[in-house]
Amino acid sequence: MTTTLSLEAEVAGLIVEALHLEITPGEIDPEAPLFGEGLGLDSIDALEIALAVSKRYGFQLRSDDERNHRIFRSLRALAAHIETNRTG
């Protein structure tokens, strides 16, 4: 069973790898927004993350708006969403 903290580090690694970011996974502030300010990701990145998540964790991200905002609020929120929904 994965603990949230190690999953968080794993997802940070996934983001850095999927988006070819020029930072180390440890440099992502787990509480900072992933989009806009903070990590500064955009919609192209959102698709890449969705693709990487579906491959690694076996479930699909969706855009029913409110929830999506919550999921991408931070690395921590995304990791928590993955922990709840993962099938792989």
Partner: protein
Amino acid sequence: MMRAEPALPLTSRAPSEAIFHRGHDAVTVQRFLAEVAALAAILPDDGPVLNFCADRYLALLGFAAALSRGQTTLLSADRTPQRLADIAALHGARYALADTDIALPLPVLRPHAAAGRDAPNPPIATGMIAAIAFTSGSTGESQPHPKPWGALVAGARAAAARFAIAPGASIVGTVPAQHMYGFETTLMLPLQGAGAGHAGPVFYPSDIAEALAGLPAPRLLVTTPLQMRALLGTGIALPPLAGVISATAPLAAALAAEAEAAWGAPLHEIYGATEAGSVASRRALGDEGWEPYAGVAFDIGPAGATVAVPGLPAPVPLADELEWLGPGRFRLLGRRGDMVKLAGKRASLSGLTSLLTAIAGVQDGVFLAPEDLDRNPRARLAAVVVAPGLTAEAVVAALRERVEPAFLPRPVVMADALPRDGVGKLRRQDLLRLARSR
């Protein structure tokens, strides 16, 4: 002035046809017109109106209601508050229509769909500027491209004919309704061509699959290479499709082949530009030649290409290099000059560079395009910046206020000086080496 100005009705569709799907609800033309009339009755007296509704049906409703009141709609695919405010100020927007909460220095109304008693189908003068689309100009500011009603109608009808879209087709689009390609294929097509739109939201592969599965056949998917790549990458199953249309970026042959094999439907590409709208198409597989839309005339010369579009007052210069392949078919050779295209939006590198060097604390700087920009849907621009006292993060934060997210540089390399030669010209190879040095 002519006495009887030519006009075309708001919609060409029959009253009982479905024009849109909202969730599981099919909206007939009759009901749509009644909702347009009800919304039009409560709109402020004067436009133009900045309409950036994300819900496609609300976007169409707002556009049609404004049109029926003689008001021009400003279409901004860029939802950056600063950009929206700039466009509103520059083009005298009197109010905005939005379905998200956003603070702007003008009244923001949230349209809702409620049917009135009457459902008129008002005539709209073909010369009326129904909408204004925007591109980023060479100096970075928004350039307006006015769209007469007649041009929008002609484009929608040409597309409906070109793709032989059935009146009862369901159209799922993944491109924002305020992007010219999205506006034409997901709002104007149902309004004046054929098929019924889908309100959305549709962005992730699972959204696309779910939206398609919830709609009656025949189904048409209107999307981009980027989203096709994500769809195929996740391996998600789609219901039977009648066709797929892609635009905004060149589609790699391998991706096109994979898509046709996976979905068993013909894949077509549209060629167009915000200035001209959609002007040509081709079958993506094994066909290099683009066929102009009905009524569209290309003029390809050594100085560049222009396109004459029905309903537009003058031929439009194109940012791409074109070459005739044979009568009525042309080939796309590449971008002209320093234009770059990312996420379906165009910008000029010099325009982006001038925005960069205008940042307080930036002494020198330049935007660079990677070699694989046209082939790699995930490619990003890079920037080399001389700004003692500023961090790369601070530079990006300042750029974010002026530049669309897709154009934000990644990486940003901070340097002591730019490699300039004796006459002050930048050496591209040295710059690329510098950009890759991290």
